[in-house]
Symmetry: C2
Subunit: 203 residues, 2 copies
DNA sequence: GACGAAACTGGAACGTGTTCCTAATCTAGT
DNA sequence: ACTAGATTAGGAACACGTTCCAGTTTCGTC
């Protein structure tokens, strides 16, 4: 899956020079700042470029589209969340409780910045095949977060566990989309997730 | 929920004159024709207007955005599917079997026109709050399809049944998005749905 | 330190969704 | 049939994502 990657496509893991890493960071910072302030529509490529102090062409060299940009931002945010979560063990007696705790905490975090969440979620859902790589990474991160919640310490994770985690991830995403688009309230969103988890993890 | 609706917003249920109903139909026909031929990107508002033999301004009078247009098209298609399904009783011994049958049949139908499905699904997922009404209708239709599959004949439907149906609908949508964006193969999509249904409906 | 390649800047230009305006046409009420 | 009001046609204009280009700067190599 690791394709040859000579000089272009700095988007994923290629580090580049310090200046390049710094540019990339500035771009993602600008993206998130604009997104938190005005959501998906406020993340305008010209505005991102200006705020990141980078030419428009350079922005496109780093991120080939607005969607790539936002999904990459989502990835970075998610990584932050995941490492923060990885440290402290999750409280809760049953797998269901732990998963619900983790998901609700994450959801609450996202709901505290509705605009940002709207921007990132919409981008994630709108992504087409050209963003498959980045999407896949985010999906893996989410699944891993969930299996971690299911089994706190290096417990074996079966195929079925992964399947369940994936289903839960799907429901979580759908619920988030429902919330972002104003179809569900925050309470309904939490309930929707809880229902799904309890149905899927009744052991 | 039925707000006053004097003259505008013909999009949902307002019938209007025969000529207007005909225009609306021509627009949706053109939309679906373009979508099945070239997917989301091929549904260009100028192209739809021309193909439907309608001015651009008129198109926007009937459907206030491309997303509204595509979601309305999805709604019409879904209604067609649902009434077609409603007739013949679903075969299958268990609830899980019946639900899987219905979903797989529907999925197969959609996969047979990949471009159309891509267009409609992406629109559905990209929709923002302003499309909430149309989205909600489609969601209700889907839930009703699923509860119908669970209980063939006028059997009572509990709250939990509806919740389960909703979860299944979420998973189905996520799976569809995965397929549409080239992340999952058709086989994986089917499997993903089957896994979720069997987990949720093990009685 | 000089050279060539790659990256960056600044900005023009293009495509498509959306808005807006004017003139022509249709519809309802008399 | 006539008129007022609503609807539609036709098309210009604007916004933002994206592409492209010419000139400048940075970077690796000798």
């Amino acid at each position: 899956m690791t394709t040859a990657n000579p000089t272009n496509s700095l988007a994923v893991e290629d580090l580049g020079s310090a200046a390049q890493r710094d540019r990339r960071k500035r771009i993602l910072d600008a993206t998130i700042a604009l997104a938190s302030q005005g959501g998906f529509d406020a993340v305008q490529m010209r505005a991102v470029a200006e705020k990141a102090d980078v030419a428009l062409g350079t922005l496109y060299r780093y991120f080939p589209s607005k969607i790539h940009l936002l999904v990459s931002a989502l990835h970075r945010e998610f990584e932050r969340t995941e490492t923060a979560l990885r440290d402290k063990p999750v409280e809760g007696d049953t797998t269901a409780d732990r998963v619900i705790t983790v998901l609700k905490r994450t959801t609450r975090g996202m709901q505290s910045d509705a605009q940002l969440t709207e921007a990132l979620t919409r981008a994630f859902m709108f992504a087409d095949a050209s963003v498959a790589a980045e999407i896949h990474q985010v999906g893996m991160l989410l699944t891993s977060m969930l299996t971690h919640a299911m089994y706190p310490e290096g417990h074996e994770v079966t195929d079925e566990d992964v399947q369940i985690a994936r289903v839960i991830g799907d429901v979580w995403l759908s619920a988030l989309v429902g919330w972002v688009t104003g179809r569900n309230s925050a309470a309904e969103t939490g309930q929707q997730i809880e229902v799904a988890v309890r149905l899927l993890l009744r052991d």
